[in-house]
């Protein structure tokens, strides 16, 4: 892929730990993961747990800082698989998209494999997804910044305080 940054193997793999790439895969739109999957060499794998749908109860804290309480469930799809080379890939992704869960688990397993082989093909895809996530976040924050408001109080005479 032309837009995949080419990084030295060590840097690429140092950029994301397993929880970080699992988080990223869960937050990346399935179509984007699919786009990378299309050009990757296909691994062989077996299912340990086929994609299945359930929920997770989301918790909050009173006032954001205090004791915990249950807010409500989110739908979650999860699966577990094993590459023929032995690595076990796991995914838990919000929503009901089984393909999203399957690809996330495959990427999880392939990234573990790459860590031992030193390759950077899948890792490069992760770097591209990370870049895209940063861009999405920046877009939201740019929108937010555009509506920054400075309230000023007027004294009875009308002068600003």
């Amino acid at each position: 892929m032309s837009d995949t940054p080419v990084l030295p193997a060590t840097d690429c793999h140092a950029a994301a730990s397993r929880p970080q790439w699992m988080t990223l895969l869960a937050e990346t739109p399935p179509a984007e993961i699919e786009r990378h999957w299309k050009v990757l060499p296909r691994p062989t794998f077996t299912w340990i747990r086929r994609p299945e749908l359930g929920s997770a109860m989301v918790r909050g804290r009173a006032s954001g800082t205090g004791a915990q309480f249950n807010l409500g469930d989110v739908t979650v799809t999860r699966c577990t698989l094993q590459l023929s080379t032995g690595e076990i890939g796991v995914s838990y992704v919000m929503g009901r998209n089984k393909r999203h869960a399957a690809l996330s688990a495959l990427f999880d397993a392939m990234l573990q494999r790459e860590k031992s082989t030193g390759e950077t093909i899948v890792c490069g895809a992760i770097a591209a997804m990370m870049e895209l996530r940063d861009r999405r976040r920046r877009q939201i924050l740019d929108d937010t910044r555009s509506s920054k408001v400075d309230f000023t109080m007027l004294s009875p005479g009308g002068a600003e305080q």
Binding site: I48, R49, T80, Q82, I88
Partner: protein
């Protein structure tokens, strides 16, 4: 995580679990009847396939499970967590289910939750492995779901078991329920059943 441990589910997880549930329901509504249920392809020893089948069918994340000293092993804990979501607890009084590899390990039933008069359902079910559901000392069972009397002879129960059982039954509606299992079948003893011998 070890794939060989966690991949030993039912061959057909949904339908086998449904059939096993139907079997457990039949056994409980007709106490003393021996019912065969589908078994998983394999199970982490020393958890027998029958106990594993009962676990896969009845456990979920809302049913804390207690394991006897033989069963309390890391691969079994992982197996139950992965396949059912059930957490293993060390305090018997917080268990919804308790699994025993040997009936001889059965402690005083009162260490497990037995419910309250308002909530008799907040009680534990004990799942107990026996060598065979036949060939032991014959006992007559009476109670709801039994037309008049049924004779059973599960082997491997400790001395005084049926006296303790009757004590449990005498406290109805408070009490524990029990499922006995051998290599391929189960028999259910709800707390409504009284034994004479």
């Amino acid at each position: 995580m070890n794939a060989s441990v966690i991949s030993t589910q039912f061959a057909d997880p949904i339908h086998d679990a449904q059939q096993a549930f139907r079997g457990l329901l039949a056994a409980t509504s007709r106490p003393g009847t021996i019912v065969t249920i589908p078994l998983p392809i394999a199970s982490p020893a020393p958890l027998s396939p029958t106990l594993a089948a009962i676990g896969l069918t009845l456990l979920d994340d809302a049913t804390p499970v207690w394991l006897d000293p033989i069963l309390i092993q890391e691969p079994i804990r992982q197996y139950l967590l992965f396949n059912t979501g059930a957490r293993v607890v060390t305090q018997p009084d917080s268990a919804a289910f308790a699994f025993f590899a040997k009936a001889r390990n059965l402690p005083d039933f009162r260490v497990f939750p037995r419910g309250t008069p308002s909530y008799p359902d907040r009680s534990a079910t004990l799942v107990v492995q026996v060598p065979l559901l036949a060939g032991g000392r014959p006992v007559s069972l009476r109670g709801p779901g039994i037309e008049s009397v049924v004779s059973v002879e599960p082997a491997g129960l400790p001395d005084g078991f049926w006296d303790r059982w009757n004590e449990n039954a005498a406290n109805y509606p408070i009490g524990i329920d029990m499922i006995l299992a051998d290599a391929c079948s189960i028999m259910s003893l709800p707390r409504t059943v009284k034994a004479s011998f």
